[in-house]
């Protein structure tokens, strides 16, 4: 199954969903994780289900193209990584 990981900055809010989750797209992997930890959803996705403006999702180190539908394909051995865009303050 694809492996899902979060930046430590996000992991402090999102306690459980890192790990192996089933799915053939980024959306499916994330939704599988959020089904176990519903509160995590709103940290990664906005009200409309798109990736939050200042959050980035990578598959095997490549930024995903589709931030709205999260349709990028994910293979069984792939690594999905969720991080925050950097900012100051």
């Amino acid at each position: 199954m694809p492996h899902l990981a979060f930046t430590p900055n996000l992991a402090r809010h999102v306690m459980r969903p890192a790990g192996e989750w089933p799915g053939a797209t980024v959306r499916e992997v994330l939704e599988a994780a959020f089904a176990q930890s519903p509160a995590a959803r709103g940290y990664v996705l906005d009200d409309q289900g798109a990736v939050r403006k200042h959050v980035a999702v990578f598959v095997n180190g490549e930024l995903v193209d589709d931030r709205q539908r999260l349709s990028d394909p994910v293979g069984d051995d792939d690594q999905v990584f969720v991080m925050q865009a950097l900012s100051g303050g």
Binding site: D46, R52, Q84
Partner: protein
């Protein structure tokens, strides 16, 4: 025991009274922006709205006066997709929280919408009649990407009677718990608009709206272009000459005297600093006919503290006030503002100051 909750860019500070004055008793969410707080005297529950820069707004609740906190639901817009594929809105900020009728809660957001919870924040419902107002298309953000709903006045004598204010979208009154709405900003002047639109009530940039708890027809407004007062529930507004400047963000009204109110003026618009580097509070006791400028205990030399719209509050006695600044200074008074005491000058930038029981 009374408390002061101070929400800042870097966490929540809970102040309790001591023999030496107010002291910081505990903190929460250090490092995270806290944009709004609410203490609900009906069940003792406290709420804090956070605004994670990357991860969006969140609401937390405490049942032990801020010792421990648990995340509850965050108001969010229903998913929708327009014909052109455009997505619907997302809540970017929680900008107001108040207790509602029948044990409920109100939450005002950016973009400007009202959400209601009837289960202590476990779920929120967008108030459709307000969101569907056709005039919403003309609202716009004042220094923000979208218009925001920052003031919710719940009439203590009839909790179904609401008055809310939007930056920028005027003042709205509802007699029926939000089912119908009436725009009430006639008399305000939007100095930033083209001449033919300056009197349009729907584009008024109200910075803050407060209501007399004992005389709910008495409303006070600090606006982008001045200060106004209404004694007829917002049907008409009279301009006030607040010294030393008509610009500012906060206003509070006395809990039992509808003619007494306080403002914290600043140099307008593109500057947003105290006039002549002096932090002052303007107080009227005669309905705005005259003002006193209060400065005792406040910095009067090279002070650049700006006070945001939610960062001034008054308690139920009417004698105690507190306000905090963008520079992280917090002042309190026990005599209606005649004398001020500095609680701290080293807090993070302050967004909200509220008394609680």
């Amino acid at each position: 025991m009374s408390v002061i909750l101070v929400g800042t860019r870097k966490g929540l500070f809970v102040l309790e009274p001591s023999a030496a004055g107010w002291r910081i008793a505990r903190t929460a969410f250090l490092g995270d922006p806290v944009t709004m707080v609410l203490t609900d005297a009906r069940d003792g529950r406290w709420y804090a709205a956070l605004e994670h820069g990357h991860f969006g707004p969140k609401v937390h609740a405490s049942d032990d006066r801020g010792v421990t906190w648990t995340e509850v639901a965050t108001p969010s817009f229903p998913a929708e997709e327009g014909e052109d594929g455009a997505k619907g809105p997302s809540v970017s900020s929680i900008w107001s929280m108040e207790t509602a009728s029948d044990g409920g809660l109100w939450c005002g957001t950016i973009p400007a919408a009202l959400f209601r919870s009837d289960d202590q924040g476990a779920s929120w419902q967008r108030l459709a009649p307000f969101w569907e107002l056709p005039q919403r298309a003309q609202w716009f953000g004042g220094g923000k990407d979208d218009a925001g709903l920052h003031s919710i006045c719940v009439d203590p004598t009839d909790p179904r009677h609401l008055a809310v204010a939007i930056s920028s979208g005027g003042v709205w009154d509802s007699p029926d718990d939000g089912q119908t709405w009436d725009l009430r900003a006639d008399g305000m002047i939007a100095c930033y608009m083209p001449p033919e639109r300056q009197l349009d009530p729907n584009v008024q940039d109200v910075h803050r709206l407060v209501q007399s708890p004992t005389h709910p027809d008495h409303l006070w407004v600090q606006h982008h272009c001045g200060a106004w007062r209404s004694t007829d529930g917002g049907r008409s507004w009279q301009a006030l000459d607040v010294p030393p400047s008509a610009f500012g963000f906060p206003v509070v009204v006395h809990p039992t005297d509808p003619h007494t109110a306080w403002f914290v003026p600043a140099v307008k618009d593109q500057f947003r600093i105290p006039v002549d580097g002096k932090v002052v509070v303007a107080r009227t006791r005669d309905g705005g006919a005259s003002f006193e400028v209060l400065a005792d205990g406040l910095p009067q030399e090279h002070a650049y503290d700006l006070v945001y719209r939610h960062a001034l509050d008054i308690d139920a006695t009417g004698d105690r006030l507190a306000f905090g600044s963008t520079t992280g200074a917090l002042w309190t008074t026990d005599d209606g503002g005649d004398h001020w005491h500095e609680v701290s000058a080293h807090l993070p930038p302050i967004y909200v100051v509220r008394f609680g029981a």
